[in-house]
Symmetry: C2
Amino acid sequence: MSDVARETGDRFQPKFDAQGLMTGVVVDASTGEVLMVAHLDEEALAATRETGLAHFHSRSRGTLWCKGETSGNTLRVQEILVDCDQDALVIKAQPAGPACHTGARTCFYRRLADDGLLQRIAS
Amino acid sequence: MSDVARETGDRFQPKFDAQGLMTGVVVDASTGEVLMVAHLDEEALAATRETGLAHFHSRSRGTLWCKGETSGNTLRVQEILVDCDQDALVIKAQPAGPACHTGARTCFYRRLADDGLLQRIAS
């Protein structure tokens, strides 16, 4: 597939990197807030589309995981957006609970302050 | 640095992957919309913090690039959020123009429809 066709066409042709992964950005479908970033391989993408629940590939464990499979804090997919070169997805989802394994609503609960330290901003 | 210290502490200790990269999600500081996803190495992160303009590492060219250096469509950084394990950033920025090289406001201008095809949603 040419770059132009990939960028302008209506054919979904996800581009996985050398590790077989693409980036998934999960956004709260209600608020638009970024909740987490994780990676999808072909298997995780298929599982996400089939079940309507966000699945990812764990780079550390090397396995498929359904977000929330143990915690119950699943992410129900409402819409998937695809970027120009089809190597990243925005997954708009309804979270069943805190998205972060730390218990925070979002994984992005700290900001980088001018002094170079991290400041907590969300709970 | 322990996982707990990385997740709960105030020390910024970005975690780069085996390719020396971390994920950057650029969000429009005014609207919260996700504009693009790109990758930062240590050099791009330093350049972003020093200049206040979003810089990335091009995986295809293997070089540092300042977003908008040729198009003029720079991204002025307003705030940087860091996720729990410090391997991804949300970069809240003010775009000087369309964020996407195709001329679209955001790189995420298509949605994956139920029939498996891509539908254009943004201009």
